[in-house]
């Protein structure tokens, strides 16, 4: 099988011939690194889909190397919208940056019984492994690098909708600018999530919650020149 890998410092991918079938891409890269080319650089950890280290793009689509089984002539590239440090390793400081901007944490959970159904509401959202595949797939980053993207907004919704959470107003306020209204609702983040999370759905929920709290889409608000105005009477 031939695997093509886009490495840093070159425009053309490097090809490796390996004799494997029905194994993960990570198994193949580990083989290349330890037997063929020790300079090939990539991140990996748990090899079981929970540490979020090994997201790459294969043939233009985000995959975890430890879960993806490659075919002949596959093209492997680093994920997008992050500075490449070397080969398939990218700068992951956006994880901390976006989660900090979004106040993506619990403010305090109350004790007491919670039904299984209520807890199930945040089950999928809290499965996130911060692999940043969703950022790589998101077209908004091509125009707004400060977008508090899919994983952070999912994380905010995870805390806002936690039945134990005591205060979520500040969180909703934190995701208004460069946040929920910047999303185009295209849904590209959904199929690439290895944990079957649908960030776009969580963003819709955050929008509707924001609406109930009196926030509005700044694009809608500015459609009439920054506010509604009928003959000098401001509303």
């Amino acid at each position: 099988m031939k695997i093509n890998i886009l490495r840093s410092g070159g425009d053309t991918p490097q090809s490796y011939d390996v004799d494997f079938e029905n194994v993960t891409l990570l198994t193949i890269l580990n083989h290349i690194k330890t037997k063929i080319d020790p300079t090939l650089t990539y991140s990996h950890g748990c090899r079981s889909g929970v540490c979020g280290s090994c997201a790459v793009r294969v043939n233009g689509r985000e995959q975890l190397m430890c879960e993806y089984k490659p075919s002949n002539e596959d093209m492997v590239e680093p994920i997008r919208y992050a500075t490449v440090l070397r080969d398939l390793v990218v700068d992951s400081s956006s994880i901390e940056k976006f989660n900090r901007s979004a106040s993506a944490w619990g403010e305090g959970s109350k004790e007491g019984n919670i039904s299984e159904e209520e807890m199930a509401r945040i089950q999928t959202q809290s499965d996130c492994i911060l692999c940043t595949s969703c950022v790589s797939a998101c077209p908004v980053y091509a125009v707004n690098p400060d977008f508090i993207g899919p994983f952070s907004l999912t994380r905010v919704w995870r805390y806002v909708s936690d039945p134990r959470e005591t205060s979520s107003d500040a969180k909703i306020a934190a995701v208004q600018a460069n946040g929920i209204w910047d999303c185009t609702l295209c849904g590209e983040c959904v199929p690439v999530c290895p944990q079957n999370i649908a960030p776009v759905q969580d963003i819709r929920m955050l929008r509707s919650k924001s609406g109930m709290m009196g926030y509005q889409d700044p694009a809608m608000a500015s459609m009439f020149g920054g506010g509604l105005d009928f003959g000098g009477v401001s509303f």
Partner: protein, 533 residues
């Protein structure tokens, strides 16, 4: 304000960070990857705590003591078990999404060796969800993270035996740096990755902090005790949580017959599987009778991993399994305040030996240990640092490590260290694994001593300064070789069978001769080991 340096961003490090921050310290957490990528993310089963019902703290203590096979410290175990309910409440208050039972209480399941269902869990993602919840809280507390720094050595003032900080390789730039602090907490995890493809652990569990600690003059304890998880996937050693058996899963041998009590402590079950594989050719985990709905809901991760790595669906098929190296009971010796024998150097979690697991850890006690002792350790380190600040003492460690790294980059790599690493993993699994014998152990020791001599002929082939993972993996290999020697020396000296340390040539326990801890240290570079209280 005391400055606390925490090395390791897994569960233990993050709990320590929150706790040190809470008492007013300035905290910096250094990680060799990113905090959310650490080993804790892989913990599945749960966190033990008695939350009422028919269970009691006394039973939790008794179960833990029994499983520890004489090497658990009753005071430490009591401290852990008594603080367990509060630890779970604390995690709940931060937002850890525990699964719930029908009445809406935090659900608990039964794990091996426990007299009652007491492992609080979040599906089979308990570690992942705990780790991420902690990380979120650290961001909220504005704790500083420095990522992608590989720990090289501790900076210790030899005159006073006081830790002053640590040196690191900045992985992205290739520079050697130092970080000074009033107290240092090692939370670097265990060393089960030494077993390579026969380990459930992430590749990074190479015991760096433990190797660094003994080089810095700290004492280690009980390194021969390594837990083998009974049920890892046969081809990849990926963990299938004990909760699969807790929920009623069976173990079947090559003739598709049950052969053991599935919920005995891990050392017992793992050895039974080992023997059965030898006699009947294979062992399988059977969870088919639990039904698709249960498996999808309670064991989603297991199902996915079995499909990817074994190509089978556990809803309809048997899961081929084998025991794999899973947890390091041994580690840096610490006192009840979590301080090591180097002043100001603390250790917590899997890299430390809190003497709570003894010779065999119970499922559900490791996440518990890292929360209970992480809180204790963070507070103690902050208070110690506050009372005993260090001025910026002159120290040559940074210069020494800069030179060391320059030297390593110039090694001629005539011998391939990846090949040696694979060999070490294989001989460890075969001869320093579930069943050990003096002859095999001594042969392994010979091989390790040879590798030590050959290290200067190995080294990284990649000569790049930028993000050189070949270099990082070589230094990790060096740490593994350092610990491998210690583990084997301990295993040879312990002429008995106890908990996870089973000697095929001496299958009985001998409390008179070996009823105490193996303590290990270096004196003038010479490895010393002795049995001590």
């Amino acid at each position: 304000m005391a400055k606390i340096l925490i090395i390791g961003g897994g569960g233990a490090g993050l709990v320590g960070a929150l706790s040190a921050h809470e008492v007013g310290a300035e905290v910096i957490v250094v990680s060799k990857t990113l905090p959310t990528r650490s080993q804790t993310s892989m913990a599945q089963g749960g966190m033990n705590a008695v939350l009422g019902g028919d269970d009691s703290v006394a039973d939790h203590i008794a179960d833990t003591l029994r499983s520890s096979a004489g090497l658990g410290d009753e005071k430490q175990i009591t401290f852990m078990c008594e603080n367990a309910p509060d630890a779970v409440r604390w995690c709940n208050s931060m937002g850890l999404p525990f699964s719930r039972d029908e009445s809406g209480e935090i659900a608990r399941r039964r794990l091996g060796g426990a007299s009652a269902p007491r492992a609080c869990y979040a599906q089979d993602y308990t570690g992942l969800k705990l780790l991420h919840t902690l990380y979120d809280q650290c961001l909220k507390a504005k704790i500083s993270f420095v990522n992608e720094r590989f720990l090289l050595n501790l900076i210790v003032d030899k005159e006073t035996n006081r830790v002053l900080g640590a040196t690191f390789l900045n992985i992205p730039t290739g520079e050697v740096e130092e970080i000074r602090a009033d107290a240092v907490i090692l939370a670097t995890g265990g060393y089960a990755a030494l077993y390579g493809k026969h380990s459930t652990n992430a590749v990074g569990s190479s015991g760096d902090g433990i190797a660094v600690a003994i080089r810095a003059g700290a004492r280690l304890a009980d390194l021969e005790f390594i837990q083998f998880h009974p049920t890892a996937l046969k081809n990849s050693s990926i963990l299938i949580s004990e909760s699969a058996r807790g929920a009623g899963g069976y173990l079947l041998n090559g003739y598709k017959e049950r052969f053991t009590d599935e919920l005995a402590p891990r050392d017992v079950v793992a050895r039974a599987i080992h023997d059965e594989i030898a006699s009947s050719g294979a062992v399988y985990l059977d969870i088919r009778h639990l039904g698709e709905e249960f498996i999808t809901h309670e064991l989603p991760q297991e199902r996915k991993l079995a499909q990817i790595y074994e190509g089978i669906d556990p809803v309809h098929e048997l899961i081929p399994i084998k025991p794999s190296a899973h947890y390091s009971m041994g580690g840096i010796e610490v006192n009840s305040e979590c301080m090591s024998s180097v002043i100001g150097l603390f250790a917590v979690g899997e890299c430390a030996n809190h003497k709570t697991h003894g010779a065999n850890r119970l499922g559900g006690n490791s996440l518990l240990e890292l929360v209970v002792f992480g809180r204790h350790c963070g507070k103690n380190a902050a208070e110690f640092g506050g009372k005993n600040p260090v001025s910026t003492l002159e120290n040559g460690q940074l210069a020494k490590d800069t030179n060391f790294l320059r030297g390593v980059m110039a090694f001629n790599n005539e011998i391939d260290f990846y090949e040696k690493q694979e060999m070490l993993a294989n001989i460890f699994y075969n001869d320093v694994g579930l069943v050990r014998e003096e002859v095999g152990l001594k042969a392994v020791l010979g091989a390790i001593r040879q590798m030590q001599k050959e290290l200067p002929f190995m080294g990284p082939k990649d000569k790049s300064k930028i993000y050189n993972t070949n270099l990082v993996e070589f230094i990790e290999f060096g740490n593994k070789v350092e610990l491998a020697e210690i583990i084997v020396v301990c295993a040879i000296r312990r002429n008995e069978s106890r908990g996870a340390h089973y000697r095929g040539d001496i299958p009985t326990r001998n409390d008179v001769m070996f009823g105490t801890h193996t303590i290990i240290w270096r004196e003038g570079g010479v490895l010393c080991a002795d049995f001590m209280e």
